[in-house]
C-alpha cells in the first residue's frame, strides 16, 4: 500500500484526517455506556458492587469500530471507551447512595416524599464537577507524579494491541487466559476465594496471612512495582502490628468479659477481628489517614497545581491553543456546578434555607474536590478506589451541616459519589490516552458532553426496580441493595449521634505527618491499606514483589515488553470473567 502524503486534502488520493473525536466513537460509546449503566445499577443492587466499564467498552468498541465499520483508529477507540465509562459512572454513584433514601422512607413518612428533581440536579452537578476538577490535576498526577493507573495501562495495552506485534498480543492473551481460568474455577467453587495460610498454620484471625485469589490484584501490583510497597506496609501495619498489639495489650474485650465458652472460641475471634478490630479500629483510622494524607498532598503539590493553572491560562491564549480544556472552562464549570448543587440543596427539603443551602453546596463542592483527589490518587497507585468510604464521609458532613436533614444529606451525597467516581474514571482514561497519544482536550470534551446521559438512565432504572415499594432493600432477598442498606444503617446511627470522630482525627494527624515524607502519596497508600481486608493488600503486594524481582533480573525493557501485556491480560481477563459470571448468575436466577 502506498500513500501520496504530499497531496493537499482536496486532491484525490489524499488521506482523510486522523480519526479521533468522531460521531461514530461518541455514539457507539453512548449506547454501550447506557446499556452498561442500566445493567450495572441492577448488579450493584443485587450484589453490592459495580464494575468498571473501560475494558468492556474498549473491547466492544474495537469490535464495532475496527471489526464492523473497518475504520476505527486507536485514538478513536479511546474516545469510545472514555465516553462509555463516563456515561456508566452514574451507575455506582446512584446505586450506592440513592437506595438509602428509598429504604429509610419506608419507615419514615418525612423522608418518603422526596422529589426527583433535586436528585437529578445533584447528580448532574456532581458529574460535571468531577470532570472539571480533573482538568488541573491531570498534569500533576499523570505527567509529574506519573501515577501508574494500572487499569489505564491495561486499557492502553489493549488499544495498542494491533501494533504491538504478535508476541505482545500472545502475552496479553496468555495473561487473559490464566486470569479467566482461575476466576472461573473460583466461581465454580473449585478453588477458594481466599487462601487462608495463617489459618492452616494456626495463626489467629486477627493476624492473618491470607491471599485473595485475584489475578487482577496481582496484575495491579505487577504494574505498580516498588511504588506500591507503602500500600503493603499499611496492610502489615494494620494486621500484623496494630491488631496483635491490641489483643495482647488487652485493648479489646476479653473472652472472660464476654462469657465465651470453648465452643464459641472461633466466633469470639471473629468478633474481635471484624466487629472490634476492623470496623471499630482499622477502617475508621484508615479513612482518617487517607484524608490527612490527601490534605498533606494538596498542600505539598500546591505550587505544582498553581503552575498547572498558570499553564492552562497561558496555553489557551497561545497560538494553536492548548491540548486541554482551558482555565475558563474550569472556573465556569466550578461556578455553574456549585449553583446547580445549591439549587439541589434548596429543593431537597423545605427546611433548607438559602444560607444553609449555600453552605452545604460549598462544603460539598470542596469535599468532592478533596475526595476526588484521594480516590484518583488511590486508584492511580493501586487500582483501588475507596469511593464508598469517601461518599460516606460526604454524607456524614452533609448530615451535620444540614442539621440532621436526611433527604438533603443523601441528595448531596449522590453528587459526591458520582463526582468522585468521575474523577477516578476520567483520570484512568486520561492515563490510557497519554500512553497512546490522545489529545486530553478531546477526551475531556467527549466526557463533558455525555456525562449527563447515565444519570437519568440510572435514576430511571432505580425507580423502575423500586416499583410500588419494597422493590429492593434489606427485606428483599432478590435485590438487597447492600451498599444502600449499609448507608441507611449508618444514617440511622448518625441520627442517634454516632461517628468515630476520635479515629478520623487521630488518623488525620497520622496522614498529615506521613505526607511530610518524600514518598509521594504515602499517607493515602497506608490509609487505603488499613481500610481494606489484608487478603487484598497481600495479593497486591505479591505483584509488587514480582515486579521488583523481575526488574532486577531482566531489566526495564523486558518489563515493558513482557510484563506489562501479561499484567494487563490479568486485569482484563478477571474483569470480563466477573462480568460474564454476573450475567450468567442473573440469567439463571
Amino acid at each position: 500500500m502506498r500513500f501520496a502524503v504530499n497531496s493537499p486534502p482536496e486532491q484525490p488520493g489524499a488521506q482523510a484526517p486522523y480519526r479521533e473525536l468522531t460521531f461514530a466513537a461518541v455514539s457507539i460509546g453512548v449506547v454501550i455506556g447506557a446499556v452498561m449503566t442500566a445493567a450495572f445499577v441492577y448488579v450493584a443492587l443485587k450484589l453490592g458492587f459495580s464494575l468498571g466499564g473501560s475494558t468492556v467498552a474498549a473491547i466492544l468498541g474495537f469490535a464495532v469500530l475496527r471489526g464492523v465499520l473497518r475504520k476505527g483508529s486507536i485514538i478513536e477507540n479511546n474516545i469510545n471507551q472514555t465516553v462509555a465509562s463516563g456515561v456508566n459512572n452514574a451507575s455506582a454513584g446512584i446505586a450506592f447512595t440513592l437506595p438509602a433514601l428509598f429504604i429509610l422512607g419506608q419507615n419514615d413518612p418525612t423522608i418518603a416524599n422526596f422529589e426527583v428533581l433535586p436528585i437529578l440536579l445533584s447528580a448532574l452537578g456532581g458529574s460535571f464537577l468531577g470532570i472539571v476538577f480533573i482538568i488541573p490535576l491531570r498534569k500533576q498526577m499523570i505527567e509529574l507524579e506519573r501515577l501508574r493507573f494500572p487499569s489505564g495501562i491495561a486499557v492502553a495495552t489493549l488499544l495498542k494491541s494491533p501494533g504491538a506485534g504478535a508476541r505482545q498480543a500472545k502475552l496479553l492473551g496468555g495473561g487473559f487466559l490464566i486470569a479467566t481460568l482461575f476466576h472461573v474455577s473460583l466461581e465454580r467453587g473449585i478453588i477458594p476465594a481466599d487462601l487462608d495460610i495463617g489459618g492452616l498454620i494456626g495463626l489467629p484471625q486477627y493476624a492473618p496471612i491470607a491471599i485473595g485469589v485475584s489475578f487482577a490484584s496481582i496484575g495491579a501490583g505487577l504494574l505498580s512495582g516498588k511504588g506500591g510497597l507503602p500500600f503493603v506496609f499499611g496492610g502489615i501495619l494494620g494486621w500484623w502490628v496494630i491488631m496483635p498489639a491490641a489483643v495482647s495489650m488487652g485493648w479489646v474485650p476479653s473472652a472472660e468479659e464476654l462469657g465465651v465458652t470453648a465452643a464459641l472460641a472461633g466466633e469470639y475471634e471473629s468478633f474481635i477481628t471484624w466487629d472490634v478490630g476492623y470496623f471499630g479500629m482499622l477502617r475508621p483510622l484508615g479513612i482518617g489517614i487517607l484524608i490527612g494524607g490527601a490534605l498533606s498532598g494538596v498542600i505539598a503539590s500546591f505550587p505544582a497545581i498553581r503552575a498547572a493553572l498558570k499553564g492552562l491560562s497561558a496555553a489557551s491564549k497561545s497560538e494553536g491553543g492548548s491540548d486541554e480544556m482551558s482555565s475558563t472552562v474550569l472556573y465556569a464549570g466550578i461556578v455553574l456546578s456549585y449553583l446547580v448543587l445549591f439549587a439541589a440543596a434548596l429543593l431537597s427539603s423545605d427546611e433548607i434555607g438559602i444560607g444553609r443551602g449555600l453552605l452545604i453546596a460549598g462544603v460539598g463542592t470542596i469535599w468532592l474536590a478533596l475526595a476526588g483527589l484521594i480516590v484518583a490518587q488511590a486508584s492511580g497507585m493501586t487500582d483501588i478506589s475507596p469511593i464508598s468510604g469517601m461518599s460516606l464521609i460526604g454524607v456524614t458532613l452533609m448530615f451535620f451541616l444540614s442539621g440532621g436533614n436526611v433527604v438533603a444529606s443523601i441528595v448531596l451525597g449522590v453528587a459526591v459519589s458520582i463526582g468522585i467516581g468521575q474523577c477516578a474514571d476520567m483520570m484512568s482514561d486520561l492515563k490510557a490516552g497519554h500512553l497512546i497519544g490522545a489529545m486530553p482536550k478531546k477526551q475531556q470534551i467527549a466526557q463533558f458532553a455525555v456525562a449527563w446521559v447515565g444519570v437519568p438512565v440510572a435514576i430511571g432504572v432505580l425507580y423502575l426496580l423500586w416499583g410500588d415499594g419494597g422493590g429492593f432493600g434489606p427485606d428483599n432477598p432478590e435485590l438487597s441493595a447492600p451498599q444502600g442498606s449499609a448507608l441507611a444503617a449508618i444514617i440511622e446511627s448518625l441520627r442517634e449521634g454516632a461517628a468515630p470522630l476520635d479515629k478520623y482525627v487521630g488518623g488525620g494527624g497520622i496522614g498529615l505527618a506521613l505526607g511530610l515524607f518524600p514518598i509521594g502519596g504515602l499517607g493515602v497508600l497506608v490509609g487505603l491499606a488499613m481500610y481494606l481486608p489484608f487478603s487484598i493488600t497481600l495479593t497486591y503486594g505479591l505483584g509488587c514483589a514480582g515486579n521488583m524481582v523481575l526488574q532486577k533480573k531482566f531489566g526495564d525493557r523486558w518489563l515493558g515488553n513482557t510484563l506489562v501485556p501479561v499484567a494487563a491480560g490479568f486485569i482484563i481477563g478477571e474483569a470480563l470473567t466477573s462480568l460474564t459470571a454476573v450475567v450468567v448468575r442473573l440469567a439463571t436466577g
Binding site: L144, V276, G437
Partner: protein, 310 residues
C-alpha cells in the same frame, strides 16, 4: 541517615497507629455489651439449629429452615412507645416461654430443646441491653481517647515528623550531588534532554525527507515505528525514571514548568506510534515535528529555571 529516617518512620507510625486505633473506655464498654449479645445470640442460633436437625414433630412456629413463618402484622399508624429495658426483656422472655411450652417434645429431641431454651434465656438480658445501647457521643469519644492514648500517640507523630525531616534532607543532598558521568551512573538531565531533542529532530528530518522524495510505504512506516519505540523506551523512560532527582534540584514549581513540555513531547511521540500503526503518515509526521518543538521549549525552560536557581 536514610536508615535512621526509615527506622523513625517505622517506630513512629507503629506507635501512633496502635495508640490511634485504641478504643476509649466508653467504646470498649459498648463493645462488651454488643459482643455478649452477639455471641450469646450465636449460641442460641446453634442450639436452635441442633434442635431443628433432630426434632420429632415439625411445627412452623419453630422457625427452622424450610418452615413457613407467618408474616408479621403490619405496623399500625400509632407511634410506638420508647422501648425500655423492662419491656424489651419481657418481650424476649415471652418469646422464650413460647419455645419452652412447645408441645411434641420427645426423648430424641428433649436435650436439644432444653439447650435451646437455656441459650435463649441466657441471651434475653444482654440482647435487650444491646438493643437499648446508645452511641457514644463523638466528642466524648475524642476526649476520652486522647486522655487514654494521646501522649504516646503524639510521641509517635513526633518520631514520624523527625524521620520525615531527616529523609527530606537526605533526598535533597543526593539530588544535588554531582552526576558520576560513568557508564551506568547518573547522567545530568540537561545532557539527556539535549540528546533526546536532537534524536527527535533527526527523526522529524528523516520523515520529512522521506515524504519529500518518495511516497511512503507500509514497510517505511514499520521502520519508523521501530525507531519511535526505541525513543520511547531508551530515551523518554530514562528521563522519567530520574524525575524525583530532577524535582529535588529544580523545586516543585520549576520541575512542573520543565516537565510539562517534556510530557507533551512524550505524548506526541506516543501519538505518532499510534498513527503509524493506523497507517496515517501525515499525523505521524506532524506529531514527531510537534514533539521536536516541545522538546526545544523544554530545553529553553530548563535553562531558564536552572539559571534562576543558580
Amino acid at each position: 541517615m536514610k536508615h535512621i529516617a526509615l527506622l523513625l518512620l517505622l517506630v513512629g507510625v507503629s506507635l501512633c497507629a496502635s495508640f490511634g486505633a485504641r478504643l476509649s473506655p466508653e467504646m470498649n464498654a459498648s463493645m462488651v455489651i454488643k459482643g455478649k449479645a452477639k455471641l450469646l445470640g450465636l449460641t442460641t442460633a446453634k442450639a436452635k439449629e441442633a434442635f431443628c436437625a433432630v426434632r420429632e414433630v415439625k411445627i412452623a412456629a419453630d422457625g427452622c429452615k424450610g418452615d413457613e413463618v407467618p408474616k408479621p402484622a403490619p405496623k399500625g399508624d400509632v407511634a410506638e412507645a420508647e422501648p425500655t429495658f423492662g419491656r424489651l426483656l419481657a418481650e424476649k422472655n415471652a418469646a422464650v416461654a413460647v419455645i419452652q411450652e412447645r408441645g411434641g417434645i420427645g426423648d430424641k429431641d428433649r436435650a436439644q430443646h432444653q439447650a435451646w431454651v437455656a441459650a435463649a434465656l441466657a441471651e434475653a438480658s444482654p440482647a435487650a441491653r444491646s438493643q437499648l445501647l446508645k452511641p457514644v457521643d463523638p466528642s466524648l469519644r475524642l476526649s476520652s481517647w486522647f486522655d487514654l492514648a494521646g501522649v504516646l500517640f503524639l510521641v509517635g507523630v513526633v518520631l514520624i515528623v523527625t524521620g520525615a525531616l531527616i529523609a527530606r534532607k537526605v533526598v535533597k543532598a543526593e539530588a544535588m550531588a554531582e552526576p558520576s558521568g560513568e557508564e551506568g551512573g547518573a547522567r545530568d538531565f540537561g545532557e539527556l534532554l539535549i540528546e533526546l531533542s536532537e534524536a527527535v529532530e533527526a527523526l522529524a528530518g528523516q520523515m520529512g525527507q522521506m515524504a519529500a522524495i518518495e511516497v511512503v510505504t507500509v514497510a517505511d512506516m514499520e521502520r519508523i515505528k521501530v525507531q519511535v519505540e526505541a525513543l520511547q523506551v531508551d530515551s523518554f523512560e530514562r528521563i522519567v525514571a530520574s524525575r524525583n532527582r530532577i524535582q529535588a534540584r529544580l523545586g516543585i514549581g520549576g520541575f512542573a514548568e520543565v516537565f510539562g513540555p517534556f510530557s507533551a513531547a512524550e505524548r506526541r511521540i506516543n501519538r505518532s506510534w499510534s498513527a503509524l500503526v493506523d497507517q496515517h503518515w501525515p499525523e505521524a509526521f506532524a506529531s514527531v515535528t510537534k514533539a521536536a518543538l516541545d522538546l526545544k521549549t523544554c530545553q529553553d525552560t530548563f535553562e531558564r529555571v536552572s539559571a534562576k536557581r543558580a
